[in-house]
């Protein structure tokens, strides 16, 4: 693990408040996940990969945005690990990273529809122009 990955791992653990070491690898999070089939990395893998500092593949994975944040994994985890909070923390790490947006400002016009609030369009343009 190089320094930047280690820092990122620490930051994710800090901001999520999750201790991945509490996981006993029972897989109940993935057993309960309604978005399982959509995800490349499943909830239990998220926990394991963060614990091992294997963060880069997670940052690049579409799985981040497939998580429904339904919190079923949090509700049912027998060890109180709270995998969804970890997914959220990785998601925030991606969103906050400048220049690594999953959209470009130029892509926005194609996504517009008339029901979309004006404010959302403006903030999207602001955000993805950076």
């Amino acid at each position: 693990m190089n320094n930047s990955t280690e820092n990122l791992q620490k930051e994710i653990i800090r901001s999520s408040g999750v201790n991945p070491k509490k996981c006993m690898r029972c897989g109940k999070c993935s057993a309960t996940c309604p978005a399982y089939d959509e995800m490349e990395y499943h909830p239990h893998q998220f926990v394991y990969m963060v614990e091992n500092g294997d963060i880069q593949p997670l940052l690049e994975s579409k799985s981040l945005f497939q998580c429904l944040t339904c919190f079923a994994c949090i509700e049912r985890c027998p060890r109180g690990v709270e995998p969804a909070k970890l997914v959220e923390a990785v998601r925030l790490a991606v969103i906050r990273k400048q220049g690594a947006n999953h959209l470009k400002a130029d892509d926005i016009p194609a996504l517009l529809d008339e029901d979309m609030p004006q404010q959302a369009i403006v903030s999207a343009l602001r955000k993805y122009s950076k």
Partner: protein, 664 residues
């Protein structure tokens, strides 16, 4: 003035690694009263003890201080050493420089400084010690076993075998406990009833054993060797001495809709019932909550059909008072409630059952007469999913379930899976596990047989949810090794529910002043070296009330507890603890504070004649301590406002001298 010897132990490197033992013995040499001070590698060894004995003789020591491990470890050893050299054993003080010093400090200067301070405190105390002589108390040669499961049965049989009378108190109408509800037992698959019921009969026939069934312990007083126990024999409305157990009443009773607890509510029994055919004592019991006669005064069918005339609707609870020398707790376990585990749909579907319910479902005397059928529609299940660790191994922060491993589930699930495949080869059996834990003689071999010979599908992963759809149960689960989410259409789901101590254990522990852990398991006196004794003298532990365990382990522990009880009952007298409270009658102001705080009831007030300065005689009431009952807790010495109450061996002035020495 005392002549004190100081003996500093290295405990190998345990103490000497963080404490400069030479500096400690040198420093203590100059304390008031100290005439001899030395250090040695292992003071508790024969050679170390000889150093102490020789020093006592050579330097005419009147008191000694041993700076070593906790007094819990070796106080008794060094007291014996002193006694062997002719010194009163209560002139020995231990300064704990291991657990409370060397083990908790990392650097030598700090450790050494603290060790010297602790040594000084002990020296200051010994200066004020007085020789004490323990009293003796007789031993009542009768044991009480609380709980009549396999643990209580084995303990009682072993004690009775040694020739001592034993009483078993069982809160249910019959002894037998959980084992009576089991079908087969792992790993040999012998039927539970076939090996248990002969033991139950042995209990009934043993002249040394009395069974108080349908009874509970109401009150416990006294102390080791001399417990006074009140037992409430609940009214069963049947005269036990007359009832022949013929069972006619249980067939004729018109109240048929009472959930049968022996079959875990999966079928019904009558309001008058015998729990099962092999019950001991085989006597009927009327369930007052359901009996029409007791509730409305109209019915009386059982009384009419009883040819023996055993029914007695006017029976009342009876209190039995008995003295015991030793008490064994054998209160057992129960599966936890599944209410907090909504994801498994236990409360939504009759076809989601616990493993204990599965036992009844496969037992010939169970609700389906041993045929494995779905409780909902009586159909044969073709796909069965077993879920392990339901409520076991849950973190405290998860706020449901238990933190510990329940220990028996892996094995009984392997047994259930194997027996199902053996009897119904057309059934698909899945077992979802986190880890398969099978330490035990022939245990892992048993689990491997389930996989290799019986083709049970063991899948590493948990079940996430069970949803009833039509007459099926949709099981969504993880297969962690294949990294897949599985969806199985099951007919029956069996939950290996965690086990917890019986609810009666907590109030019983309070009555016995026996300690418990946070899970309500009884605490043993030492987790490794005194596993069947409670820290409370005279109270012993048998079976799952101490921690999760299977039948072989329970029986071993039950026999071990019996051995300890026999060892106690074989004595004619017990040596008491001389460190008990004593009241200075001249200072006592009769306020009763001590009497009120005493948890053992050791203090009473007596009238005593006092000679007054003007030569008249006055009668005053003063506190008096029963030395055989006092446990030396010291509560009274703190409560006494006039300072009349003091504890021998731990007198207030001794404690103050210690504090002074520490603060000097």
């Amino acid at each position: 003035m005392q002549r004190i010897g100081v003996f500093v132990c290295w405990c190998g490197s345990n103490i000497a690694g963080t404490v400069d033992v030479q500096a400690v013995s040198d420093a203590l040499q100059n304390e008031p009263g100290v005439v001899f001070s030395t250090n040695y590698q292992y003071m508790c060894s024969q050679a170390g003890q000889d150093i102490i004995k020789n020093a006592i003789a050579e330097h005419k020591l009147t008191g000694i201080v041993v700076c070593s491990c906790s007094p819990r470890m070796h106080e008794a050893t060094f007291r014996k050493t002193a006694a062997a050299a002719g010194l009163n054993p209560y002139m020995v003080e231990i300064a704990n420089i291991r657990e409370q010093c060397s083990w908790v400090h990392k650097d030598m200067p700090t450790g050494t400084e603290k060790a010297i301070i602790l040594g000084k405190a002990a020296v200051a105390k010994v200066n004020l010690n007085a020789p004490l002589k323990p009293g003796e108390s007789p031993v009542t040669k009768r044991a009480l076993v609380i709980g009549g499961g396999i643990a209580g049965i084995q303990t009682a049989l072993d004690i009775a075998e040694a020739g001592f009378p034993v009483d078993i108190v069982e809160k249910k109408p019959t002894i037998g406990g959980k084992m009576a509800q089991l079908d087969k037992t792992f790993p040999t698959l012998d039927c539970a009833a076939c090996i248990l019921t002969p033991k139950m009969v042995d209990v009934a026939q043993n002249e040394n054993i009395r069974i108080f069934s349908y009874s509970e312990v109401e009150e416990v007083g006294g102390f080791v060797g001399n417990f006074d126990v009140k037992i409430r024999k609940k009214a069963r409305f049947v005269n036990e001495d007359i009832c022949t157990g013929c069972g006619i009443c249980t067939e004729k009773c018109p109240q048929k809709k009472v959930p049968n607890e022996f079959n875990l509510g999966m079928d019904n029994r009558r309001a008058i019932y015998i729990p099962f055919a092999q019950a001991v004592p085989k006597v009927a019991t009327i369930d007052a909550d359901y009996c029409t006669m007791l509730k409305t005064g109209k019915c009386g069918v059982c009384s009419k059909v009883c040819t023996a005339g055993a029914i007695d609707y006017t029976q009342k609870d009876e209190i039995i008072e008995e003295k015991y020398g030793a008490i064994v707790a054998a209160t057992g376990f129960n599966p936890i409630s599944m209410d907090k585990f909504d994801e498994y749909a236990y409360n939504q579907s009759k076809d989601v059952i616990t493993s204990l319910e599965f036992e009844r479902l496969t037992n010939a005397a169970g609700p389906s007469a041993g045929k494995l059928v779905r409780p909902s529609d009586g159909k044969h299940p073709h796909t069965i999913v077993f879920v392990q660790c339901v409520g076991s191994r849950c973190a405290a922060c998860a706020e449901k379930g238990k933190e510990y491993c329940s220990k028996i589930c892996c094995m009984y699930t392997a047994k259930h899976a194997m027996l199902t495949r053996d009897k119904y080869p057309d059934t698909d059996v899945y077992v979802f596990y986190i880890d398969v834990r099978t330490p035990g003689k022939a245990f892992d071999e048993f689990y491997r047989r389930a996989v290799e010979e019986y083709g049970v599908h063991y899948i590493k992963g948990m079940v996430g949810k069970v949803s009833p759809e039509g007459d099926k149960l949709m099981v969504q689960a993880s297969d962690l090794l294949a990294n897949k989410q599985l969806h199985i259409e099951a007919d029956l789901v069996v939950l290996a529910a965690a086990i917890e101590p019986d609810k009666s254990a907590r109030p019983l522990a309070t009555q016995l002043t026996a300690s418990m852990d946070t899970n309500d398991f009884f605490t043993e006196a030492h987790p490794k070296l005194r596993p069947v004794e409670s820290p409370t003298a005279g109270v012993f532990l048998s079976g799952t009330c101490q921690g999760p365990k299977d039948i072989p382990e329970t029986v071993s522990q039950a026999s071990a507890a019996a051995a300890k009880v026999i060892g106690l009952l074989a004595k004619d007298k017990l040596t008491g603890n001389p460190c008990v409270a004593a009241s200075d009658e001249l200072m006592c102001n009769v306020c009763s504070s001590c009497e009120r705080v005493c948890p053992y009831g050791a203090i009473t007030y007596v009238d005593k004649e006092f000679r007054m300065p003007d030569r008249t005689t006055r009668v005053r009431r003063v506190a008096s301590v029963n030395e055989a009952v006092c446990q030396g807790c010291g509560a009274c010495t703190v409560a006494c406002p006039s300072g009349a109450m003091d504890l021998k061996g731990f007198a207030t002035k001794q404690i103050i001298a210690e504090v002074d020495a520490i603060c000097r």
